[in-house]
Symmetry: C2
């Protein structure tokens, strides 16, 4: 991965400071355009190695952008002066698999044994597709991308296991081919699609009934195209009913100093 | 394109000498494995510029590997000591759009004003797909790849015009995605597919009734994947009813000294 830009204050840094100050608590979609945004998972150290093994074995749904040192709330490879306790608009705190709190700051929950994972998010490859002139149906219709639990099981690692969750974007065939080409260049943010055209073959019975997010129309001249989704690790964590963990709240991502273009494989 | 290997006698050269001597008149499929094979089109000079414009405007079906000097039967960028009059097992001679002769040598027909085009062929990308462990249904079933005339029209240039012809290879969705990735690296031999999954949208009414070649089974868990095909320029040439031209006979290709791997985009 390319180094973090060092010169001056990046737009990502500015947005993090605004969020840290508590003056912004909404969705990060559209903030610091062109900057990589990331999913966050914070776990006690005794679970971190197993989670990292799970991510390593399932790189398409769980592309790890950075892992922190024990108890260190910074991620220096992703941005200057990041403080993971304050720099995301909203968090989710889980105890024994139950959502117990959605705070805007987790300083009061911080422990010296916590390990943080930043995981690539589809915002980056969507930016590349939009740049290439391809429509994002869920964006043009003002919805959340439709997501489905599939019959494909992730490779398990200790307590972490569960189905691959995919997001769906409809495309005409020639554009589906183009989308494969474009997103193949972004392996650290889910990469190429995992499936297209035959949803029933991966256990999706009704394309109009997503398990998460909103349904979007698929026209007769379009194929549904499926990408591995960052909800996969969240679902695996929820199913593991961990004694304690923290994640970002949906849509409330870590804004990094990295540029999306810097993630592209050559 | 990489330079022709200079050291020693390439396997391609050996096979051309065998063909030149008249001791081999069969299909070139499987000869000099890993070497690029090419379609051949030989036209009078007054038509060559228009044909080159046609190819330039339609690079997916007509990827030009090399164009000869007027009246020169060699193609030095494709191989050492190539003589296009003798080095292919069989030719087709066309007069006013009619096939009039299928000789094994065209020395008697050579003229000083002929221009030769070597055009990339799917053998190269098929080799890359096989290398990646993907099945070629037409090869495993001992047939010719099925080809279809589509409702997509080529960009015309002077007398050269006509439909895009495509070849079809069935693939399970995940393998179709993999095939897009692999063949995208080979733009000079048709490159990425042009369509997949919805044949009726490109004017193909019955996948079991190809216009050229043989039908192959498409299983319920597979999508038909379509690549632009080198029959496209041949069909355009036939439709133009040229006073005179020469092409290779089907399956009787020019074996070059280039390696398939050398065609891969980085």
């Amino acid at each position: 991965m390319d180094a973090v830009p060092q010169s001056g204050r990046s737009l990502g840094h500015q947005e993090r400071m605004r969020i840290r100050s508590g003056t912004f608590v909404g969705s990060t979609a559209g903030l610091a355009p062109g900057n990589v945004q990331a999913n966050l998972v914070i776990l006690p150290a005794e679970l971190a190695n197993d989670f990292l093994r799970f991510a390593q074995a399932n790189p398409k749904p769980c592309p790890v952008l950075a892992v922190s040192e024990h108890g260190d709330p910074s991620l220096p490879t992703l941005g200057r002066d990041i403080d993971l306790r304050t720099d995301m608009p909203r968090y989710r705190v889980w105890r024994h698999g139950e959502l117990v709190e959605e705070p805007t700051d987790i300083t009061h929950l911080w422990r010296d044994n916590l390990v943080s994972f930043a995981i690539g998010c589809s915002f980056s490859f969507e930016a590349a597709l939009i740049e290439a002139g391809l429509e994002m149906r869920h964006i043009t219709t003002g919805r959340t991308v439709p997501m489905f639990r599939t019959s494909i099981q992730c490779a398990p690692a200790s307590v972490f296991r569960g189905p691959l969750v995919v997001s769906m974007r409809p495309r005409r065939p020639a554009d589906a081919i183009r989308a494969v080409q474009i997103t193949s260049r972004f392996p650290s943010v889910h990469g190429a699609p995992v499936h297209l055209g035959l949803p029933e073959r991966i256990g999706i019975r009704d394309i109009a009934m997503p398990d998460y997010g909103d349904a979007v129309p698929v026209e007769p001249d379009e194929l549904p195209v499926f990408w591995a989704c960052g909800v996969t690790p969240q679902a695996a964590i929820a199913a593991a009913r961990l004694e304690f963990c923290i994640t970002h709240a949906p849509g409330s991502m870590l804004i990094t100093d990295l540029r999306n273009a810097a993630l592209a494989a050559s």
